[in-house]
Every structure is written in structure tokens, then in C-alpha cells.
Symmetry: D2
Subunit: 345 residues, 4 copies
């Protein structure tokens, strides 16, 4: 790994304050499985930030695990979850959703965002078809999965979320938001959605820690009581961490005084500087992304040069002579690192 890399947003450990706190309490004796005071504090801070006293909060370790458990809590075997073709659960989970018995139903998407008209039209069509032939022959769509921000760095606006909510209400779908990059989504200047807006609109979502300042951890917020995401179900998925306070300390630290949001904002600020700098130097944007993932089309010669010094993520060939690359900032990216990048391109 190169010393300077923008290849992804989870190459560093945790915000130093988290390591400091973990070291501080290291030899304290704590009860396991998330019943410790740090986890309780973290859950309380999250409920407060969401403005939802009634929310159930669970702290889990990783993204695939979290997606799998939430979906398993929502669906029966003859039900499925709608997702963008590019959605993480459709392409990047090695079959974890299906391994636990559930179908992902791919929907057309643009730049990572589900095509709302296509979704509405799909639901109208299949509803008519199922009514005619009998629902028992089909995978019944029971939930909708979106990411905020998406796999392409784009975000859903409040108006778009409301449209999705309306479709979900009309067709009896749970609305689930994968927030692995929630900090980077909500802190984007292009995003007019607050955490409270989100908590008021969706049935379940999570606040991603792994990519935003934590060593690891995703905080699931269940808002719809019909979703039976219990501690027992979590354990049956092998996901109830023995030393649960490791998650508690991390989220309590991130949620206190808005640390999570301020470090997420840093990633956005650095991404905007990186973007402007690259554009100024003549690099061509591939996607108009308002978050911490920036995509460029770059000549293959320049790419080869760049890769000698700097880690980048290769997305795909644009044409014979050009490549689409991704450069990510994160909570840990410094002004110096961006300057160094811009100096060397």
C-alpha cells in the first residue's frame, strides 16, 4: 500500500479519541454482549440524535452482516427486497442475502440511485400480474433498499425520499436505508436531509462507523416495530459481539458533541478541494458526485504515472485509451494529503 492513497475510505483505524477512550477503559471490567453502560449511552445518544425515543438501536460489527440481519428480520422466504442493480446487496455481498434465504430484486438505477419511475412502474406491473395469476407463484416485494450516499457517491434528496416513502406506503414495502456512508451522505452540500428527517421517513437504517471514524461498527436504528430485529436473531447470525462495549465506546464517542458529523464534514470539504483541484488541472469528472467519492476519466498514460505514487481505485475502462478511477477522501484525509495529490497529478 502506498503511503499516499485515495483508493477507499476505510484504510485507517479510528479517530484518535476512540483509541484513547478504549485504552482508558481497557482494564475496566464490563459485562458482555452490549449490556454495558457505554453501549447503553451510545444507544441513548443515537435515539436522541434521531429524535425518536421509541427507536430500537443495535450495534453490529460490519456492513454485510448488518444488511443480512436487517433483511432477514424483514422478509419471509417467499418475499424479496428491491434494490438498485448497482446496490451493494445486489453485487458486493458474495450472496450473503441469499445465503440467509432472501431474493434481491434488481431495479434500474442511474448513478447508484434507484429510478423512481421505473420502481413505481415495476410495482404497478407486478401487482397487476400477481393479482391475475396468484401471489403464491412469485417473490413478493416486501422491502426497498437504498444507500445514502450511494455506491456512486450520489445522494437522495428529501423530496426523493418522500417519493420513495409514498411508493412504499402504497405497495406495503419496508423502506431500508444502508447508511454505511451516512455521514458522508448527510454532510454533503447537495443533501437537504437531516438525521431526524431520515428517522421520520424510513422503517430502518444504519449509521455507518467503519467508513466514518470507527475501527468498525454499524449502528442499526429500527423505527418500525413490525420489524422483529431481536438480540436473539442477531446472535443466531453470529453477530452479537462478546465485548459489546467496544462498539459502545466507539459510537458513544462518535455521537458525543457531533464528532461523527464534523469528521464526516472534513471528508466532504477535502473531496470538494480535491475535485476542484483536479478539474482545474483539466481532469474530467465521470460523475457529478457531491460526496467523498470522486470519479474521473483519465488517460491511461497519466494513470500509470499517477499510480507510481498514489493509490487509486480502478473502476472500469472508459475506452481504449481512458480509464474511470475513483478517489476517496475520508474522516482522516488531511489538507496536506490533498495538496500532495494535486501537486503530483
Amino acid at each position: 500500500m502506498k503511503a499516499l492513497s485515495f483508493a477507499c475510505d476505510y484504510m485507517e483505524g479510528a479517530h484518535p479519541e476512540i483509541l484513547r477512550r478504549l485504552t482508558e477503559i481497557n482494564l475496566e471490567k464490563n459485562v458482555g454482549y452490549g449490556l454495558d453502560p457505554y453501549s447503553q449511552q451510545a444507544r441513548e445518544l443515537i435515539r436522541e440524535a434521531c429524535g425518536r425515543d421509541d427507536a430500537q438501536v443495535h450495534l453490529l460489527v460490519g456492513g454485510t452482516q448488518t444488511n443480512t440481519i436487517i433483511i432477514d428480520a424483514m422478509l419471509r422466504h417467499n418475499e424479496g427486497i428491491l434494490a438498485a442493480t448497482s446496490g451493494h446487496i445486489n453485487v458486493h455481498e458474495a450472496g450473503a442475502i441469499e445465503a440467509s434465504g432472501h431474493k434481491v430484486i434488481p431495479m434500474p438505477a442511474r448513478l447508484g440511485k434507484i429510478d423512481i419511475n421505473a420502481l413505481e412502474s415495476h410495482m404497478a406491473t407486478v401487482t397487476a400480474e400477481f393479482n391475475a395469476v396468484g401471489w403464491e407463484h412469485y417473490v413478493i416485494p416486501r422491502a426497498l433498499y437504498i444507500s445514502q450516499s450511494t455506491e456512486y457517491g450520489t445522494v437522495y434528496t428529501l423530496d426523493e425520499l418522500r417519493q420513495l416513502r409514498a411508493i412504499c406506503d402504497k405497495y406495503d414495502l419496508y423502506l431500508f436505508v444502508d447508511g454505511a456512508r451516512l455521514g458522508y451522505g448527510l454532510m454533503s452540500p447537495a443533501c437537504d436531509v437531516t438525521l431526524k428527517d431520515l428517522a421520520g421517513l424510513v422503517d430502518v437504517f444504519y449509521i455507518g462507523g467503519t467508513k466514518v471514524g470507527a475501527l468498525f461498527g454499524e449502528a442499526v436504528v429500527v423505527l418500525n416495530k413490525d420489524i422483529r430485529l431481536t438480540r436473539g436473531l442477531i446472535k443466531s447470525h453470529g453477530a452479537l459481539l462478546a465485548k459489546g462495549w467496544l462498539l459502545g465506546v466507539q459510537f458513544a464517542t462518535l455521537m458525543a458533541d457531533g464528532l461523527y458529523w464534523s469528521i464526516a464534514r472534513n471528508a466532504i470539504d477535502q473531496a470538494m478541494r480535491l475535485r476542484q483541484g483536479m478539474v482545474d488541472k483539466g481532469y474530467k469528472l465521470y460523475i457529478d458526485s457531491p460526496t467523498n467519492q470522486q470519479f474521473f476519466v483519465i488517460g491511461n498514460d497519466r494513470l500509470a504515472q499517477l499510480q507510481q505514487h498514489i493509490g487509486v481505485d480502478i473502476i472500469e475502462a472508459a475506452d481504449q485509451h481512458h480509464t474511470v478511477i475513483r478517489l476517496c477522501t475520508s474522516w482522516a484525509t488531511t489538507t496536506e494529503q490533498v495538496d500532495q495529490l494535486l501537486a503530483s497529478v
Copy 2:
């Protein structure tokens, strides 16, 4: 249900010879679970007809069950099966494949047939991508599912099967043929594939009984010994029929003296008469199907009239004033029934 119906190809019981044989041996005492002499005879006749002494043959009850078990025998949890978007396992199994832990990977298709170029291109692309990023993050395509004949009545030619075999060899995929309508596929004048050709080219397929003369039953033929489709696995899927001789008698009867093929041929002959008659009367074909399923575009007024006397299958709206319908013949369709249909349209 109307007395005259062409709505689907499994509206009748079984070929009378099957009921006669079942009645004849009804009070004989037989051992269970397919170890009886009739089942042994059926398996032997099938191996012979396939020209493959080394084939393993299992007699199962229904199609969804059969697809599920074959796929479960081939795949691990992080592997998937490629299928036409219109493939039965992708749209008509209520999630049975996923319920047993496996992802169906949809591929572009035309009239029910997988687009061979799109398939090749998909495999090339994902192979490059997986090599770059690491196979562990993806559902690895491990098998290819096709139907012969397809859900739209079309058939793969011998040349097309060979092309698919070559792709499967190149990318280490099992080739699995759903033969729920195998009789109607192989007996089609448009199909130059023999049963022996098929058994020589694919890794596993089945000979459909439910739609071709049996009360129920699908005969699975496993040709690749790496596919561990055991009796124990079948039982663990709840699919080892107690009175296995019911399946044995049916397939022994169908396979003796080519009964299966001759009654399948009847369906094709009647379908061709039906097709020509409809075309002669000015009905417009929706698809050029060479098998027992015929699709027409029909004015909604005429449809309403037709449905007063005759059962048809509504596929979808063609436009505001026209509908796509399906008329099926089967092993049981008589010349009189087709004449009656043609007289009333």
C-alpha cells in the same frame, strides 16, 4: 374451468395407460422410496434412452422442487446460477432457489432464450473484475440454467447448445437444462437436438412428466459426477416420495416404446394445426414458437367473445386495444378440440 381450454399444458391427469398400470399394481406390496422394481426399470430405460450407462437418475415430484434440489447440489452459498431474466427460476418459483441459499443471476434474453453474446460478454467482464478486486466479494457464477423448450415456447438448437457448452467449459460453469417441457422441445420440427445429444452436452437435466403425460414427476439425469445430488440431499429437501413406485410406474410407462415422445409429438402436431388455423383466420402471431405454446395478439373485443367458450392464458396487454394471449396444446389435446377452437374464433 371451461370444458374447452387451452390455458395451459397441465390441466389433465395422466395418459390412460399410466392410470391402467397404477390400478393394475395397486394392491401389490412394494418397498418405498424408489427402491422398487418399477423405479429401477424407469431409471434403466432413461439411462438407455440417453445412451449414458453412467448417468444417475432420480425421480422427483414437481418442477420447483426439482430445480431447487439440483441447484442446491451444484452451488455453495457464495456461488450463483445464471439464468434468463424470464427463466422459471428467476420469476416463477416464489423464492425457492434463494430460500435454499442461492442467488439467481439474471441475464438478458430474447423470447425466453438467453442471449449468448451477452452471456459471454458478462462472463468476460465479471471475470476481469473479480480478478482485479478479489472473487471473495462477489457471487461467483458456477452454473448456467436454460429451459428446453423455454417459457416462450422457443427452443435451443444443437449449435446453440454447443456454444453454451463452450462458454460453460471456458468459465467453469455447470450447464443445467430445465426439461419441464422437454418432450415438447425435442419433438419440435425446429429442434435438431436428440435426447442423446443433450445427454452428451450438459451436466444435468430433467425429463418433465407433469406437463407431458404423467400425473406428476420429473426425472433428473445427472451426468457430471461432481454434482453430488444424493438421496440424502433429496430427503433433506422433503422430496423423497414414500411410495416411490408411483413415479417408477409412470416413467417406466412413458419411456417404454417411446410413449413419451409420441404423445409429445401429438401436442406439437395439434399446435401446428392450431397455429395455422388461427393465422388463416387472421390472428396475429406474437412470437414465432415452434412448440406447444402459441402466442397471439388479439383485439380485446374478440378476446371477450372467445373467453365465453374457451379457456386461454392472458399474458399481458399489447396496447390499449389488444392483448397477448397464450394457447397451449398438450399430450391430451385432440383434433376435435382444435377444430372446435378454430370453429369458435
Copy 3:
């Protein structure tokens, strides 16, 4: 297979009236998947016989399949079903219950019947333990499985069923009765339970056809609306029979005019004659079974002789010189067959 065999109770096809009816309607056109009039009639007759208009009835093909689907409808992944160590789901399903994600919790049993005191005591103990440590670490018992009659031919009395119901109510367990041999159980002189009693006491049970007069088929009766055993769930288990009327005709025939009960009674009558005849000839009963399965301890020399003419089921070695065998009668057993057996022992 020997011409004279008492090895099990599913060696013959179906009651002749069933085959006659199937032959009679063979070329009728019927809609699939259990929506035909015969299936509707069968469901209606069963609801009536149970005295429960509100019961949901589903007609399935086989026992393992039926047990798997009922249990899957009742349990989540961190819940389990209590069963006698000798219970069919614990020892004879090749892992089908676990394959669909659920644990069977074995309970002490005597002669096939769950030990009621041991059950009560187990539930009290684990409840205390779970309350102390946290339910999330354990498989939570959520259902109780019993068989009527049991795998050893014994039956639960009405009083025993009421005791089990009380335990289930106390500990929030569903009570599920496997009725693969329900006819033989309820027709036993030792059994004071009527079908209506049963339907009034349990949450779900089934009326076994495979072993009592049908070619195949088990009629599930769901009495507790919290058990979401839907047609879609059945299909996702590969268990929605295409030609559902085959099940409908069988159960409509068996349920009309009490045929099911009268042929079950024949098995009991013949079993009682067989038992008395064997005892009169000095054979020793292994278990005091009041139903169609009779168990004897027999010297190995005599056994060898017997097996030359007659099919028996070997259960286990009793000691070095004696073997436990099972002789079954069925709906099809004739007075002549029993006489012939008694003449040859």
C-alpha cells in the same frame, strides 16, 4: 418384496375408490395448484369434520415436507421445537428441519410419548436459566411436536393432550401434532380423543393420507391464525403441487362418508387379531401398542424361518438370541393375510 408382508403401512397404492375417481375425472380440465373444486370440497369436508369453520387447510404431498413447512411457518432462526428423542423430526428426516434453519430440541420419551413431567421440568429450568443469563444466547423453545399415534404405536389420551396444552399455554409454545398415522391413532380403542377434540386443543396438525388410504397426501389443518402458513411459503418450499386436484380428489374421497375412519378402523381390527393370535402362539409383546404397529420379541431362529415367507420390519437386537420386530397392518390388510401370517408362525 414378499407377497405377504407386514413390514410397514405404506406398501400399497390407494383405496380403490380413489383410483376409480381419479380415472373418472382423468381427462377433465382442472385449474392447478389446489384451486380446483375437488380441493375446495376436500378442504370444506375437513373443516366440517373438525368442527372448525375458521381452520385453514392445505393439502401437501409428503410427511417430511409437511413437517418442514409447518415448522418453518412457526419458528424464527433463534427458536426451536421440542420433540421426543424418538420423534420423527428428530431421527428420520435427514436434517430437513435443520436444513430450513430450525433446531429440534430432544425431550425424554417413553415408548414414543414425550415424558410430560420431564417436559414441564425442562421448561421451568430453561425459563429460569434464560431469565438469568438472557434469552438471546439460547434457542428459545417456541413449539412442541408430538405424533398421534407415535412412532411406537402408542397414543396420547385426551387428558394427556390437555396437560400438554396447559404446558404450551404456560410457556407460550405452539402445539403441533404430526398425524401421519392420525387415522390409526384416533381409531384405536385406547384413544379417547376425537377429531374435534384435537382441533379444539392444538394449534396445527395434519391428517395423514399416505399411510391411510391415499396414494400420497397430508392435509394440514392450521387452527392458530398466528401461524402464517401461506400458499407462498408452501411454494417457496417446492411443495405446491401443480395438479393439486390429485390431492383434492383423494381427500374428498377419504373424507366423504367417513371412509378414512372406517379403513383406519380395519387396520386396528386386523392389528388386534394379529396381536392376539401371536400372543396365543406364545410370542412376546415388546410394547403394549393399541394401534396398527405391533412389536414383538422373537428368537433369532424363528425369525429366520418367518422371514422366508413374510416381510417384517427389524427394529433392533433385543439380546444375543432375540430380535425386536415390528408387524404393521394397514387400511389394506385383509383377514386372509392375517390368517396366513398366523398360520405360518
Copy 4:
């Protein structure tokens, strides 16, 4: 949680050296998913310590997850794993093993150790039974699960492991050792098994970190190449940690210079002092445990007093007036803590 507690062996964070190393490399950029140099180093150190260059090593997060994945890699749906009735997978995983489709077959055990004679006899009996009736009707035992040390603090000797190996060879079973407490097992004076012995005898085992000095982490060592425990399978279980180096650093630290073993030895030394001190004060041992878990029978009055100051684990009521309790030491237990305990009892 009381400041002084012996309730379990995972109440503290990690050995300080681990936190120091994690802090040291915190802002280094590392590749994810265990492909970083720390993970490579950890795997190498483990292979070396095991004396098995050919071993595959995977670093996972938690115990339930690890047990589930190893078992899923070994078994098909109609196969099961034998375990002591008291085995962790049988009683403490909330159904995780079954949720992924596999049956745990309980075996008689004494003080946590499987009864070798009962195991041998069970395998002989079921083999005979399955041969007679047909293997397809049963869950086929395919693996044996033991813990070293066990849930009751006891250990298997080298001779016992060899006996178990012989049974596994005879009946074609994989031998799998749950090493959540492997350090405490192998460092016990009662245990004559070395890590190399273990790696030479079993098919798969793991070195537990969570309970022995790590924040979290279990290092799986696969020695039998037939066990296809791949990275893809791990991901499909939601268990491929994004920041894999967190595991790598921990195990590299623990494995370097025998830190793992020396801190495990501390737990044993303190446990022996605790044990002797308690016995000297008249407390009665419940089990003769040679490892870090010590069990005592204690009068209820004394227990109430004790619990005012000290955390203990209640196992069960011994009789009306006495309780069985567990006191655990760990890598973090100090001489002062044990002295303090002994002073207050």
C-alpha cells in the same frame, strides 16, 4: 459491574501491547479484508507455531460466527455434527448452526468432555442401523466437535485426542476443536497436548483471542484440504472484516514471542492460587478443573455476602441451601485481585 469480578474471562479489553500497536499504526493506510501485511504475518506465525506450512489460516471476529462457518464448510444439509450435550454449539449459539442448515447431534458427556465409549458405541449402532434402513433417511454424522478446554474447564489429554482421532478415522468424521479457550487448555498442568500435537491430530481448530488477550478475534487453522473454508464462504456469512488488519495486528502481537501462551499461563497460575485459597478456606470444589474456570458449591448465605463485593457466575442450584458458582481468572487477572477475593470470602 463490580470492580472486582470473576464472573467470566472476557470482561477486559486487550493486552496493553495490542492497544499500543493498534494506536501506533492507526493512521497508516492498509488494504482491507485481511490482505494487509499484519494479517499475513499473523497467519505465518500461526502456521509456524503449528508446525504446519500447509495450514490455511483465517482470522475471524467471534466464536459463534467461527463455529458456524467452520461447520457450514464441513457439512451438507443431510449431515450433522456430533457434540457433547453441554457443547457450546448445542446450547449457547441461539440456533446459529441450525440457522445455517446443520444439525447438532448431542452425545453424552461428563464434565464437558464427550464420553468416548458412548461416542464409539453410538457410531457403531447408527452405522448398523443406517446400513440396514438406508443412509438417506438419517442425518449422517460427518464431524465431531469438542472444546479444549471445555465449557466446564476440563481438558482432553493427548491419549484421549488420539482415541477420538481413531474413531473419526474409522467412521469418516472430521475432528474439529473449538479453541475459544485454547490458551487456557494447553497451558493447564493437566494437559499434555502441545499446539503441534493438536495441529497434527485434528482437521480444523481455532486459537481463541477474545478470551485470551485480544479485543476480539478467533484464528481458524484448517489442516484438512477437503474442508473448503474459503474467503468467499466467509464473506457470504457476513464475516470478512473490512479492516482485517485489526485482527492481523492482534494475532501478530499475541503470537510473537509466545505472548499468547505466557498470558494464558498467568490465568492458570492465578486460578490455581484461587482454587487452593478457596479450598483452604473450606470451600467445596464442584468439579476438579485444571484450567481457568473454577467451580464451587457454596451456601446461599455466604453467596449473598460474597456477591455484595465480588462478581461471580451462578451456574445452578446445588440443593435448597447451596448454589454452584463459577469463578474465572483470565490473562488480565492479577495476584492482588485473587488476594482481595480470598480476603473477602
